[in-house]
């Protein structure tokens, strides 16, 4: 299980596998160098031995019917020049030892045109030997002579151990270097993955657009699947928004009919209890109609923030329009809207329809929660940021979590007696964020009630 977790990292797996490959290659390198070096050293020794034996064989001559030898000084001294190895030689004529070490063994196949090399132990040490067989004319007839030269392999062992040590050091160095390179390779191979992760992490919470960055071909299927998934998610979200909007739209028309009928019925009613019941019914229908309107607003806002307009308009005018639009509703409750908007232009770039929607929802909320015969003060100020605040004289927010009020379908704690959907502030918040602004909710600094501000950059 631990092992499984370990290999879960592609990077670690890459490094481990590359290191393993490097280790195998380094070891193979070491073995190959060793074998090649030893072969080369053996060949060198063989060549010198053969040269030595040849020069001895060349020095064989016949004198008065007997084979004689003038052993050349260089024949043995050349063997001493490459290493400090022990040297043995033996000259056999017609099966009899002419001179040299009589116990030096003969090769198994004594008759051969080419030098015969062999390795054996002689006088307690491993020796390499060469034997050259050739006829020498003696007393009118050819006699067979065999020249054997042998040398211990101390020098060879020294050379091969030195080469082995060098090969081992180089192999190890190569291994370390390869590990370093595999770290870099793993890093670079995984960097597109890291870049992609970062670019997805940097996205906003509603950004479901496809990933379009340049990608290595191996990641294309994964990103394709991800894009596909996001596409489905987006269309499914859009579908449900559409569904809600459609549902709200369809509910509103029958509700309007029900309200008209109820009002007509109210005029014909005599009994106060019946009148009261009908009035309550009308109020409930009003609230339902308003909620449906807000749902429609929300769907519209969601749609428009995805493709935000950038239009130049005047914020002051927009605010005044919105207030004027809602003043009949305020009038019903004898609420006066006091505008404190300086008479100068407040140019702004954004989506005026969205912003008007946001302002209308905030003001609508304020009217709804204000007591009859009270005031709502609407202020527009601009220094670094632009703030449009709506201060009412209502009951305020009590102990509610102020930040949580902008969540969808979330309502204050002290509003149980008032019908509401909890969508108003959410809509305002979505619009504010789409314009890089936010909603500020606090208790009214000027007396009782609440103050909701839309703050824009």
């Amino acid at each position: 299980m631990i092992f499984g977790q370990k290999t879960n990292s592609i990077r670690r797996r890459l490094i481990v596998q590359l290191s393993l490959i490097a280790a195998i290659l380094s070891f193979a390198f070491y073995l190959i160098v060793r074998v090649v070096a030893e072969t080369a050293a053996t060949e060198t020794q063989d060549n010198i031995l053969a040269a030595s034996a040849t020069s001895i064989a060349d020095a064989l001559y016949s004198e008065r019917g007997l084979v004689n030898l003038e052993l050349p000084y260089s024949a043995l001294s050349m063997l001493g020049s490459i290493s400090q190895d022990r040297v043995f030689y033996r000259i056999i004529v017609d099966g009899e030892t002419l001179t040299g070490y009589g116990d030096l063994p003969q090769p198994a196949s004594p008759i051969a045109a080419d030098p015969v090399f062999s390795t054996f132990v002689f006088r307690g040490e491993e020796v390499r030997s060469v034997a050259i067989t050739r006829p020498v004319s003696s007393g009118g007839q050819a006699v067979n002579t065999t020249t054997i030269v042998a040398q211990t392999r101390l020098g060879l062992a020294t050379i091969s151990s030195r080469i082995s040590a060098t090969a081992a050091a180089v192999g190890f160095g190569f291994f370390l270097f390869a590990i370093g390179l595999s770290l870099l390779a793993a890093q670079s191979a995984l960097s597109p993955l890291r870049r992609m992760t970062q670019s997805i992490q940097r996205r906003g919470p509603h950004d479901l657009s496809p990933v379009k960055a340049a990608l290595p071909s191996e990641l294309v299927p994964l990103v394709g699947a991800l894009n596909n998934f996001m596409n489905r998610l987006r269309s499914s979200l859009a579908q449900s928004e559409d569904f809600v909007a459609e549902a709200a739209h369809r509910v509103r028309t029958p509700l309007a009919i029900v309200r008209t009928r109820a009002e007509i019925a109210l005029r014909g009613m005599e009994k106060p209890s019946d009148k009261k019941a009908l009035r309550e019914m009308i109020r409930a229908v009003d609230e339902s109609s308003r909620s449906a309107g807000q749902l429609l607003d929300h769907a519209m806002v969601t749609f428009r923030t995805d493709n935000l307009l950038a239009k130049n308009f005047d914020l002051g005018e927009l605010t005044r329009d919105t207030c004027e639009h809602l003043s009949p509703t305020a009038g019903l409750k004898d609420i006066s809207l006091l505008l404190e908007i300086p008479d100068k232009p407040y140019p702004f770039v954004g989506d005026p329809i969205l912003l008007q929607n946001a302002l209308r929802n905030i003001l609508d909320n304020a009217i709804k929660y204000s007591p009859a015969d009270s005031e709502i003060i609407i202020k527009l100020t601009r220094d670094k940021t632009t703030e449009i605040s709506f201060g009412d004289q209502g009951r305020g927010f009590g102990a509610a979590d102020l930040g949580g009020l902008t969540k969808r379908f979330s309502r204050g704690e002290n509003v149980a007696d008032i019908v509401g959907s909890g969508l108003g502030l959410t809509i305002a918040d979505v619009v504010a964020r789409a314009h890089q602004g936010h909603i500020l909710i606090r208790s009214n600094p000027e007396g009782s009630g609440a103050c909701v501000s839309l703050i824009l950059p």
């Binding site: 400090q84 001179t99 307690g124």
Partner: protein, 345 residues
């Protein structure tokens, strides 16, 4: 110097009942140490009076080591170790060829120490043979005999000189009898390798009835006495040690080439005290740090700088090349040629 060896071998037989001393020795001297615990058995070709200062100084530094110093000729030394497996801890010989053969044939032990590592490459072979002196082969002349003549500088000069003045040199030339002297054979074979003039020189000396000697000492004595006009291939260190004694003696170093013989030591395979033998080898390898011993023994220690200064000096190379002249046929042919050159009618 040659003593009857019978009594001595009897003495040895009593000392070491198992040893069969079939080889011939010249002398055996026991040097007790102050706190002697072990006895280092040395077999050597060097005379006791030459080597004694080294032994005494060594024992000063190693007061627990007694030394049995056995003197034998180089061929007897070879016989003792190669054929008879006599037990010695150290074999010291001037016969480089025989020492090389001992090591080549597996009769020597490998030994390494800080001291042996300071030796130059040509003074060591297989970490088994260690040279501790460099002794040139020189010509010694009698000033009286050479009155009015320029001493020769090269072998060619010597040949012309001998040819031009037979009346002075007839019967008054000394050289080694290479048939009986190991050092003489070594010098002669190296000469034959180094230069073609050697055989002509031998013939000229033979024609002038050269006297043949078994050792350098007798040649020096006879040149000093005026009996000989010159002696060829004398071990230089012996000659220099006698210069004060014989003012008439002069040493000539040839400028064509000078063979330099290396006196070497090795630890035989069957040594009983190899550790103490190693101490002695270290001591010998560092002889160049003891000028007082050089003075006492006249043995010139290993000194590569001195060889570099004298470009004619050629240290005889240790190694398998030396085995060539030990080859039965090679030696037979060489001696045959030498005899026919030296003893012409």
């Amino acid at each position: 110097m040659r003593f009857a060896y019978f009594a001595l071998s009897l003495f040895f037989a009593m000392l070491m009942p198992l040893r069969l001393a079939a080889f011939e020795i010249e002398d055996s001297i026991f040097y007790p140490a102050t706190d002697g615990l072990v006895t280092l058995q040395i077999i050597s070709t060097a005379d006791a009076n030459v080597f004694e200062p080294i032994i005494l100084e060594f024992q000063q530094n190693n007061p627990t080591i007694n030394i049995q110093y056995v003197i034998a000729s180089s061929t007897e030394l070879m016989k003792a170790i190669h054929e008879e497996a006599a037990v010695f801890d150290l074999a010291i010989s001037s016969a480089m060829d025989l020492q090389t053969k001992l090591a080549n044939d597996g009769f020597a032990q490998t030994y390494t120490s800080n001291a042996t590592e300071t030796l130059p490459g040509w003074a060591i072979w297989r970490d088994q043979i260690f040279a501790f002196t460099q002794e040139p082969a020189v010509l010694i002349i009698s000033d009286a005999a050479f009155a009015g003549m320029t001493p020769p500088e090269t072998r060619e000069d010597l040949i012309s000189l001998l040819r031009d003045n037979p009346e002075i040199f007839d019967g008054r030339i000394g050289t080694y009898d290479v048939r009986i002297s190991g050092a003489g054979y070594l010098f002669a074979t190296q000469d034959s390798r180094n230069s073609d003039s050697y055989w002509r020189l031998t013939e000229v000396m033979g024609r002038l009835n050269a006297q043949l000697y078994g050792g350098s000492g007798d040649m020096i004595r006879d040149v000093a006495s005026g009996e000989l006009a010159l002696a060829y291939n004398v071990v230089g260190s012996y000659a220099s040690s006698r210069l004060a004694e014989f003012p008439d003696l002069r040493i000539v170093r040839f400028s064509d080439y000078v063979n330099v013989m290396l006196r070497t030591a090795l630890i035989p395979k069957n040594a009983e005290n190899p550790v103490e033998a190693g101490l002695m080898i270290d001591f010998l390898a560092e002889l160049n740090q003891r000028p007082e011993l050089t003075e006492l023994t006249s043995l010139p220690p290993i000194n590569p700088a001195q060889l570099r200064e004298n470009s004619a000096a050629r240290p005889i190379r240790l190694g398998p090349g030396l085995l060539v002249f030990l080859d039965r046929l090679k030696k037979q042919n060489f001696l045959k040629n030498w005899v026919s050159s030296m003893e012409q009618e």
